[in-house]
């Protein structure tokens, strides 16, 4: 079942474009063209509201207030104004994020996905990212159902990446998290652990990506 997004946007071409991109990404979109309709719209079953602040009829902020009052659904605000007061006000009223016009379709989609990204199920104890099933407490990794033996550092390295799949993690942070301070570890040591981990993961090792200028990342495509 497609996730339903409510779009409140009065501009016809922009609305059409946003609808098309959201629909292409697999969301089902309800599109309302004015604020008064948005004030009355049912909010049940929505996963996200994309709200333009400059609307005919009810002021965008009023719609935002109403949505916040009646539902916990995340709200992404589209703002044509490059005005700090407006943004701050929208965030204060409970908007979760904003995108300033003009924006790229990809930009909007990235913000939508960021809002809908759910934490990995199973909490901290069990992480499931693509083919990786990680029992954090039991320090076990299963790869497509088969147990994979890792050293302590390699396991911690993978957990650090898997906790935030798709996000790049800085080398400095990984050194702190993975290497024991007593061993006087360096970033070079970290890279050695990374290459050994890749080898052990076999074909899935390519999902552990080196990010230029930052560190490492577990591929987002694997996660989704």
């Amino acid at each position: 079942v497609a996730e339903r997004i409510l779009l409140v946007e009065d501009d016809e071409p922009l609305g059409t474009q946003v609808c098309r991109h959201l629909a292409r990404s697999g969301y089902s979109v309800d599109w309302l063209r004015d604020g008064d309709a948005a004030l009355a719209a049912p909010l049940d079953g929505l996963v996200l509201v994309v709200l333009d602040l400059m609307l005919p009829g009810a002021y965008g902020m009023d719609v935002l207030k109403r949505v916040r009052k009646e539902s916990g659904v995340p709200v992404l605000v589209l703002s044509a104004r490059n005005d700090t007061a407006d943004k701050v006000r929208a965030l204060r009223l409970g908007a979760d994020d904003y995108v300033t016009k003009p924006f790229w379709p990809e930009e909007l989609l990235a913000r939508v996905r960021a809002r809908l990204r759910r934490p990995a199920l199973g909490g901290e104890e069990r992480l499931r990212v693509g083919p990786f099933a990680i029992d954090v407490a039991g320090r076990r990794l299963e790869l497509e159902g088969r147990r994979c033996e890792l050293t302590r550092a390699e396991f911690d390295f993978l957990v650090a990446l898997a906790r935030r799949p798709g996000a790049a993690i800085r080398r400095e942070d990984l050194v702190e998290e993975v290497l024991l301070p007593s061993r006087n570890g360096s970033e070079r040591t970290l890279d050695a652990h990374a290459s050994r981990l890749r080898r052990k993961l076999g074909p899935h090792g390519r999902h552990v990506r080196t990010v230029w200028g930052i560190g490492y990342r577990l591929d987002a495509e694997v996660a989704s």
Binding site: N82, D83, T84, A85, K87, V88, D97, V99, T100, P102, F103, W104, E106, E107, A110, R111, A114, R163, R164, A167, A168, I169, R170, E172, D173, V211, W212, G213, I214, G215, R217
Partner: protein
């Protein structure tokens, strides 16, 4: 002039009732004095012989004789004589002798009643003489024997304790006064108004409280009201007029100063508050002038600020219009190129699409930068201090540049800490600053290059780094990067070197927030920009 008139009128209006009050008070005092005098007269008349006369002639008192010069009978004279026996010293002896002689002619026994003989026994001027004999030492007797009238219009009547008079001619005792006396008052008075003729009635209880002269009623015409007194009347009018005149004269210079100040204010206001009004003296009017000048200065400052902002806005609109036309024209060219290809059924040239996209990106970035410039140049006085989630900010900026980076095959990555990292500032300005630095890194990188944006906490500060592996900047230019003063020309040039306006804005925004912005070259190649500033302690904001 209205103020003056009002002052005078107010004075007059308050002085008139005051004068009336004064008159009324004076009338009361005068009447009281009159009553006191009448009471004293009654007491002194009765004490210095009146009582004896009354007791001797109760039915006739106070008119012992008939009206006018009293023809005393010998009997009467013989009755009176003992009454004044203590006063012989004060009566001229020859007169006394004359009386005694007159009495003596009637026989040896003066005490024995004699049949009254008709007709004057003594010549009429004897009575007058007798009267003269008795006064002034015994004024009571003297006056009383003259008749009920003590002096001009004053009458005196004697009553028993039960308010009954032995004299049938006496008027009935006034019930009002009687009631008051029965309550125990020693003397009472009231005013009887008969046909506009006011009569003061004073009833005095005599200290002896017995006999036919226990109570004396004095009737006297009321004194004329004080207002009837020309001196009083005109005096009061004169005082009132003098007051009004004084106020009128005293208000003159003040009113003149106020009028001068008003004219000055009007002139100043007409001239857009460019000139101050003249301040003379140290009083309230001068204070008003000073206050006006202060207000004028405030207006001037405000107008100057508004004009400055308006100027900035006007320049912004003019610059923007000009600047936007160039990339728009280029974009139109690319689009028509695409259209021509599509029309001919050929494949759309990817270069034209990519260039078109870059132009739109440039357009958006340009407009946002110009708006930030207007904000900074307009001298936005209030410095916004709102919590800014830097992680979100970095994500937004990176997402914004991803299409551009992809078009240039530049890999663009970012890393932000898991815990929110917040600073305080103006989110629009900060986002634009970071945007410019990232834009610079992407735009000036080579195809296939890398850009990395990292955000990290370092103690109680944040460090936001934007690193690239592009060509970097030579040492000398590195120092000057972003320091060039922005002139409107800079925004108009297409900026092929490209590091002008955007980085300048980034530096200005950093300065505005008190953040550090530093550039350094990376080894083996590339440029790294670092923005550092205070971070809000974790958990301080949501």
């Amino acid at each position: 002039v209205r103020l003056r008139r009002r002052l005078a009128l107010t004075t007059l209006l308050s002085a008139a009732p005051l004068a009336a009050l004064l008159l009324a008070y004076q009338g009361v005092v005068r009447r009281r004095a009159h009553v006191d005098a009448l009471r004293e007269t009654a007491l002194s008349v009765m004490e210095s012989g009146g009582r004896q006369v009354c007791e001797a002639f109760p039915t006739r008192f106070p008119a012992i004789g008939t009206a006018g010069p009293v023809p005393l009978t010998v009997e009467d004279a013989s009755k009176i004589l003992p009454l004044v026996s203590g006063l012989e010293d004060e009566i001229p002896p020859e007169v006394l002798d004359a009386v005694k002689e007159a009495l003596g002619s009637t026989g040896e026994k003066p005490n024995e009643p004699k049949p009254k003989t008709e007709g004057p026994e003594t010549p009429s001027d004897d009575g007058a003489t007798f009267s003269a004999v008795l006064g002034p030492a015994s004024v009571g007797v003297a006056t009383i024997v003259d008749g009920p009238t003590v002096d001009s219009g004053v009458e005196m009547w004697a009553y028993h304790r039960d308010f009954r008079s032995s004299n049938p001619d006496a008027p009935p005792f006034p019930p009002g006064l009687r009631a008051a006396m029965e309550r125990g008052d020693a003397d009472v008075s009231d005013v009887l108004d008969v046909a506009g003729q006011e009569t003061i009635r004073v009833a005095v209880a005599m200290p002896w409280r017995e006999g036919p002269a226990s109570i004396v009623l004095v009737l006297a015409p009321a004194p004329p009201p004080a207002a009837a007194d020309a001196v009083v009347r005109w005096g009061l009018v004169a005082i009132c007029l003098a007051l009004v005149g004084t106020i009128w004269l005293a208000a003159g210079p003040v009113v003149a100063r106020i009028l001068r100040l008003e004219a000055g204010m009007r002139a100043s206001a007409a001239g857009g508050y460019a000139h101050d009004v003249e301040v003379t003296g140290r009083d309230e009017v001068a204070g008003l002038a000073r206050a006006f000048n202060e207000a004028g200065a405030q207006v001037r400052r405000h107008v100057a600020k508004v004009e400055e902002r308006e100027g900035a806005l006007r320049r912004f609109v003019a610059d923007t219009t000009h600047d936007v036309m160039i990339p728009l024209t280029v974009l139109q060219g690319h689009l028509s190129d695409v259209r021509d290809h599509a029309r001919r059924g050929e494949a759309v040239p990817p270069d034209a699409v990519r260039a078109g996209l870059e132009e739109t990106h440039y357009l958006g970035s340009l407009l946002q930068n110009l708006s930030v410039v207007a904000k900074l140049e307009g001298g936005e006085p209030e410095r916004r201090r709102e919590p800014v989630d830097l992680g979100r900010l970095v994500e937004r900026v990176v997402e914004r540049h991803r299409p551009l980076a992809r078009a240039r095959s530049v890999s663009l990555d970012h890393a932000v800490p898991r815990q929110p990292l917040t600073t305080e500032g103006d989110v629009t300005l900060l986002e634009q600053a970071v945007n410019n630095v990232v834009h610079n890194a992407v735009r000036h990188n080579d195809d296939g290059g890398h850009v990395a944006v990292t955000l990290a906490r370092a103690g109680d500060r944040f460090v936001l780094r934007v690193a690239d592996d592009g060509p970097g900047v030579s040492g000398e230019d590195l120092e000057r990067l972003g320091t060039r003063r922005f002139r409107s020309d800079a925004a108009r040039t297409r900026d092929p070197g490209g590091r002008g306006l955007g980085l300048h804005i980034a530096r200005r925004v950093a300065e505005h927030h008190g953040f550090d912005l530093a550039f350094r070259n990376r080894a083996p190649r590339g440029l790294e920009a670092a923005i550092e500033g205070p971070a809000v302690a974790p958990g301080a904001t949501r």
